[in-house]
Amino acid sequence: MKELVDKYAHKLVAAGLAEPGAPLVGGLDANLVWNRTDPACAELEQVFAGLNINSLLFAEPAEPYRSIIAYLASNAKGAIRPSDCETRTMMHDLPVVDRFEANAIVAALKQRKSVIIPGHGIVAWGMVSPEQAFIFFSSVCFACFVKFFADYLVDSRAGRLSNEQRSVFEVAIPLLDKFPDTSPTLMNGPFTHEDAVYNALIEAGRVTVAHHLVDSFFGNVSYRFGDTLYISQTGSSLDELEGCIDPCPIDGSSCAGITASSELTAHREIVLNTGMNAVLHGHPKFSVILSLDCQKEDCPFAGQCHTRCPEARFVEDIPIVPGEVGTGPFGLCNTLPPAMQDRRGVIVYGHGLFTVAQDDFNVAFANLMDIERRCRDLYCAMLSLY
């Protein structure tokens, strides 16, 4: 347990979601262990006592998340309701309570996976591992970031930006990740043996995380080698893909890939349709933010954009398609593969970006970064119009 609580405290900092020394992570089996001592432990022990869980994470988010979340929370009326895919699928909404006090925290966490306490931080739990608490914490940060910038664009266009919004924006902009001048050089393909495929996938996952082109550590990556699609496993951290890659025979002769990414079908269809061998998927923030920005008035599908949007929408040359995670009737496996034909990338509404390349991940990664950079530039350009 101690190892796990330390690991996720560290990862939170590495992801830029909390300042060094801020995360407080507790893990409970027969005994309770914390990653460090802190006066807040006493209150959080009361939270443990009130819930059937095995881990808790409490931290004040780092900037710009701190200011963004504080702003959204102040207008939340009980809960923040972002419209990105992660929130819709997993978090539902993000409750806010006004005091760092066990009863209030327990009441919120009895229903949801996290709670925001303005001026203090975010508390999230896990039933199986502190990893869950870490994921929920980072989902809150990601969802709030996306919501803030998406709302900002809409409000700016409508001429109703508040001073508060403007000042949070001023805090956030200088803190946005800097894009490197050149894309890193990755292993060169085409690969001729399986080991190289595994190594290339591991490397691609790691650089995607290192460049913050994911929320927390999630996304997925695959490579076709012969008759097999090698793909990252469901819920695997892109920066730790060692041992977390499933070889899936394309002819479906084995189910050993049942633990493969939820997007296995989409990856396989892309590979088969386009003849490309490398597929990379991340959740870069401005690609997601721009995908939410639609100015069509009186659309009969308003509120159902993520599943039913009938428009051919684009960011420059990059299509934006609707689609939910996985393979249901509204699954992105139906919308994404056809849209990828003759494209270097496709954005899935409210969710993330997929890119492809022929022989290795160099072009796929460069495109992931380039499209995100273009989305951010376009976002800023649109703002300057208003």
């Binding site: 893990g27 027969a30 869980i53 095995n54 896990g126 199986v128 819920g235 479906g252 939910e324």
Partner: protein, 591 residues
């Protein structure tokens, strides 16, 4: 009342009478339904022998059954287990639960014993008794064909009539109340069948909120590679897990002497699909549809059956598996215990069974012939009678399922602590140890597992009480189901409130077992797992489980569960959960 029907139907088979009890709302709030109601109603009878006429056999539904809540077609059955002497229970699908609700009841309590072999037919308020002597010895499929027009059905086969200790009750033709031998309790009451038909509806408090909860659950199901993914349950049935057990080197082979079966890749779910076709079916109200039917209408084996009738008995012939599955269904026997009893027999005989011999032994068991009469008592009693109880791969005399505990340590602990003996479903740690849901845990470590197992047992107790299907919880959680529960019943709740009820439901089972003398000695695994390695390979090492680590994890589990060092309930915890516990009521030893 919304969700619940507010009525329990009692049928006294000795007196041929029936009446309706209307429980207080508080009973429903405390026990939810399904497994929870079963436990509450069974407690006063917990120490009665399974074959005593007064010992009740309970069929209970939950508030979600018969509504639009996803996977609400399941229900729960409970009595004392003939096989283990513990509480005996099982979740079952089909349409029986829905019909019980539509007939106006939350559940049925059968007590007493008919004076001759009978059937009971329920249609709304009407309960009629029928002479079933003409059906004596008939297989479950034949009886089902005769009575299926009368509504949902529950039937026992020749195995139950012959006193096979692992006989099951077959619901709606192909859904087994599989484990723990509850078919024996049914037959012990001189019952051959039960039919239920209802014409009512289940009132739902807030249909719009239920629709929203349903959408949230469906979205999660769609996002799950294990459920709707192209290699998942929807496309390949539960057999989808077979390849994973092979690649993770934890497929129980040759009575658990090995954990790798070289022929497995020819016997996986895609191979079954290629050979038999791919018709999907499943429980009422479920769109996952994890059951498979061959093109000719034969029901195909589920994962556990596939594994135990291939690797465990070292059989490489697919047709033998399918025939064994059909035979067990027709005779009315639990396939897990049947397969594991054959593998124990083969080890004691020190030879490999041919497919033909395996099938003929199943017939002998089901019809009470030759050595079949001895095997009918399960592997433990058989092995003990041959002087080798250690060769029964069982916990509390119930055989282990198709996950070798040396390949998943949470599974090892969960097998040992399960209140119904060797069972994989009470906590199903395979979910995180192998399937990575909700997140992956280290399968070769006990660290953290005590609490994880305890919480999962509580969660699954809730799932079996609502009732819903455990498979959905690879994707969804009580957070979404709490919303469905509130939408259906109008009772405000949270995931954690339900979990608290789950803890009470599970602790009540520990109390019932303790009343029958079960202690830490019974919460243990066969010695093989601590002394013999599995089949390492594929860069995976499968050593024996470290006994000290296991005992520490079990000690931690007792602490987390609020039990004493001997695994017995404590007054303190019982009080906290609002349960009665008096250690003096305990019988000496488990029977």
């Amino acid at each position: 009342m919304n969700g619940w029907m507010g009525a329990i139907l009692y049928i006294d088979l000795s007196e041929r009478t029936h009446w309706v009890e209307r429980p207080d709302l508080d009973v429903y709030h405390r026990h939810i339904g399904g497994k929870g109601l079963c436990g509450a109603y069974f407690l006063p009878w917990a120490t009665d022998p399974w074959d005593a006429p007064e010992t009740p056999l309970l069929f209970m539904t939950g508030p979600l059954v018969g509504t639009a809540s996803p996977t609400s077609g399941r229900m729960h059955v409970m009595s004392r287990s003939p096989l283990t002497g513990t509480i005996g229970d099982a979740s079952v699908g089909g349409k029986l639960g829905g019909q019980i609700k539509r007939a106006g009841y939350d559940g049925i309590v059968l007590t007493g014993r008919c004076d001759h072999l009978s059937g009971i037919e329920i249609m709304d308020a009407s309960v009629t008794f029928h002479d079933a002597q003409a059906l004596v010895g008939l297989d479950t499929g034949t009886v089902y064909e005769k009575i299926k027009g009368k509504g949902a059905t529950a039937v026992v086969g020749p195995a139950a009539e012959q006193g096979v200790l692992f006989s099951c009750i077959m619901v709606d033709g192909s859904y087994a109340v599989g484990r723990n031998g509850l078919g024996g309790v049914f037959a012990g009451k001189n019952l051959k069948y039960l039919t239920v038909k209802g014409s009512g509806t289940v009132a739902v408090h807030d249909k719009a909120a239920l629709k929203k909860a349903r959408e949230d659950i469906h979205r999660l199901i769609a996002s799950s590679p294990i459920l709707l993914g192209e290699q998942g349950l929807t496309h390949f049935g539960t057999g989808a897990v077979y390849d994973l057990m092979d690649s993770r080197r934890m497929m129980p082979t040759a009575n658990f002497r090995a954990t790798y079966f070289p022929a497995a890749h020819n016997l996986n779910a895609p191979a079954f699909k290629k050979r038999y076709g791919d018709k999907r079916t499943g429980c009422r109200g479920c769109h996952i549809l994890c059951k498979r039917v061959a093109d000719d209408g034969t029901h195909l084996p589920e994962f556990e059956t596939m594994s135990h009738f291939t690797a465990l008995i070292e059989n490489e012939d697919m047709e033998t598996v399918t025939r064994a599955n059909s035979l067990c269904a027709a005779l009315g026997m639990d396939t897990i215990t049947a397969g594991a009893t054959l593998s124990c027999y083969a080890e004691i005989e020190d030879r490999k069974l041919s497919g033909k011999e395996a099938l003929s032994l199943l017939e002998d068991i089901g019809h009470g012939r030759g050595v079949g009469r001895e095997l009918a008592r399960g592997s433990y009693r058989y092995a003990a009678s041959r002087g080798h109880p250690e060769l029964s791969m069982s916990v509390k005399k119930q055989e282990l399922a198709a996950y070798d505990p040396r390949g998943a340590y949470g599974m090892a602990l969960a097998y040992a602590t399960s209140t119904r003996g060797g069972c994989h479903l009470r906590a199903y740690p395979i979910s995180h140890e192998i399937l990575r849901k909700p997140v992956a845990t280290d399968r070769f470590s006990f660290a953290g597992k005590a609490r994880i197992i305890k919480i999962a047992e509580d969660v699954n107790a809730v799932v079996d009480s609502l009732t819903a299907c455990k498979f959905v919880f690879f994707a969804s959680s009580l957070e979404e189901y709490a919303k469905a529960f509130t939408a259906v019943t109008g009772v405000t709740t949270t995931a954690q409130d339900l979990l608290h009820a789950g803890e009470r439901i599970y602790y009540n089972e520990r109390i019932m077992n303790a009343l029958n003398g079960f202690t830490a000695v019974d919460d243990d695994l066969p010695s093989r797992f601590f002394t013999e390695p599995g089949s390492s390979g594929n860069a995976i090492d499968i050593p024996p489980i470290n006994r000290t680590d296991f005992l520490e994890a079990r000690r931690d589990y007792y602490r987390v569960r609020g039990l004493d060092a001997d695994g017995r309930p404590t007054r303190e915890k019982a009080d906290e959960l609002g349960l009665d516990w008096n250690p003096e009521d305990t019988t000496e030893t488990p029977s």
